[in-house]
């Protein structure tokens, strides 16, 4: 993370277009080079699909067949155009989830296969990410072109899976609909309940996933869940320095900065300086910082401290104070005044674009 482009813990409004575009650039390259293209290589190596299937699917692909149906930007001003690119990225990420290994059983692929294929353990296999230069205008034009290109390959890939009989259009359409359903933000629901119900909090901290049964959120399935509690004495931070393991099966997709090499390197070298520089978070000297670096078998998130001035608030109100960043130790939960300010500006706490499934 170079120079002034720091990630703010909570961007209530869009004053910093450059930061927004940078987040789109970073996430787009991550999803292309780490999530999507390695899967194509994996399947081609094993003959599940071939280059020639992709070529044929490209010819057969009709506009009416496409899953992406993007609206036009809501105006010509820069804010509308930035939002348009963000929404397009959201659709691209959902498109990758549409044909994820667990959505298409026939792929017989586990996450570890993808880690090998994308070079997590061997630089030889790394797929180079694009670098972004130029003025904001130029970068926005480049991102738009990339989105167009990347989306097209994804559509061709979806069509290929259908052509080869690995999935059906009806199945995928059903799943595409599910991916667009609005659901409550699980992080907010869980944390608000833990703040309000001591018995639940105890269960969450001691039994993890078990405590999420019958809560109306996804209980998840990926490894063991450990929730670590922030207190007046301890500030917990979470990282995966090997890749970017995260309880996506409960919380949805991962924030872009968490996957960034800069965060993953610096947080284990000097965590205090890292959270200060990258998120503007000053952890008081009276608190011990504990950084949790995981393998894939335990997925951690942080139970942030309940903000002051929230006495008597309902769980529904409390849930709105819980940002993704606060679940990773990169921020605190919002105070009610911060949340109100954000709401006035039409923003909601960062929630994931792909909900767990």
């Amino acid at each position: 993370m170079s120079g002034k482009h720091t990630h703010k813990p909570f961007e209530g409004h869009m004053h910093d277009f450059e930061a927004h575009i940078r987040a789109v650039e970073e996430d787009l390259e991550y999803y292309r080079a780490k999530r999507f293209e390695p899967r194509i290589f994996y399947l081609i190596r094993r003959g599940v699909i071939s280059f020639y299937d992709l070529l044929k699917a490209r010819v057969a692909l009709k506009r009416s067949n496409q899953f992406f149906k993007l609206k036009k930007p809501q105006g010509k001003n820069i804010e509308a155009r930035v939002r348009y690119l963000e929404e397009w990225l959201d659709e691209y990420v959902k498109g990758i989830a549409l044909v994820s290994a667990r959505a298409v059983e026939a792929m017989d692929m586990v996450t570890e296969d993808n880690r090998k294929e994308r070079g997590d353990y061997d630089d030889f296999f790394k797929i180079k990410k694009k670098e972004h230069h130029g003025t904001l205008e130029e970068r926005m034009a480049n991102v738009e072109q990339d989105l167009k290109d990347y989306q097209e390959l994804l559509e061709v890939f979806v069509q290929t899976l259908i052509n080869r009989g690995w999935s059906t259009r009806a199945e995928l359409e059903q799943r595409w609909k599910q991916l667009h359903e609005e659901r409550p933000w699980a992080g907010g629901v869980i944390v608000a309940k833990a703040w309000s119900d001591p018995e639940f909090k105890h269960a969450l901290l001691t039994t993890g996933r078990e405590a999420l049964r019958e809560m109306g959120v996804h209980q998840g399935k990926v490894g063991k869940l450990v929730v670590v509690e922030n207190t007046d004495k301890v500030h917990n931070v979470v990282v995966c320095t090997l890749c970017s393991c995260y309880p996506y099966d409960i919380l949805g997709d991962t924030p872009w900065w968490y996957k960034h090499e800069s965060y993953r390197t610096k947080i284990v070298q000097n965590p205090r300086a890292c959270v200060q520089d990258m998120f503007g978070l000053e952890v008081p000297a009276s608190k011990e910082v504990q950084v949790y670096d995981r393998t894939s078998d335990v997925r951690y998130f942080v139970l942030p401290q309940r903000p002051t001035g929230t006495e008597g608030m309902s769980e529904e109100e409390l849930a709105k104070l819980v940002t993704v960043d606060s679940l990773l130790g990169a921020g605190y939960a919002l105070e009610p005044s911060q949340q109100k300010e954000a709401e006035k500006l039409g923003a909601t706490p960062e929630a994931p674009r792909v909900r767990p499934d």
């Binding site: 586990v110 570890e112 490894g223 205090r272 011990e288 949790y292 393998t295 894939s296 078998d297 335990v298």
Partner: protein, 95 residues
């Protein structure tokens, strides 16, 4: 699936191997060849969506950042690592 299957207990001093020839690649570079203390015992964990087969029991090992840098002396790193990476600390390695 409980800690009875695990060789080490909380508070034990362990050495993390520098390399793992059996093929489990999952411990970060900074954790290799280092002396650590067991901070939590997770036991055997099944994780079929993530990888094939079951790794050996999982632990969280900890160390103080002050051991490796001039960071705030209270701060610590807690790293998850499977048992095949760990060995007992020999007497000459203590302290």
């Amino acid at each position: 699936m409980e800690s009875t299957a695990s060789k080490y207990k909380i508070g034990d001093a362990v050495m993390v191997a520098a390399e793992n020839p059996t093929g489990n690649p999952r411990t970060p570079r900074y954790n290799r060849g280092a002396r650590r203390v067991i901070g939590a015992v997770h036991g055997l964990l099944e994780n079929v969506r993530d990888h094939r087969g079951i790794h050996k029991p999982l632990y969280t090992v900890r160390f103080d950042l002050s051991e490796v840098s001039s960071c705030h002396d209270q701060d610590s790193i807690w790293v998850d690592v499977h048992e095949e990476w760990l060995s007992e600390v020999q007497s000459q390695e203590r302290n």
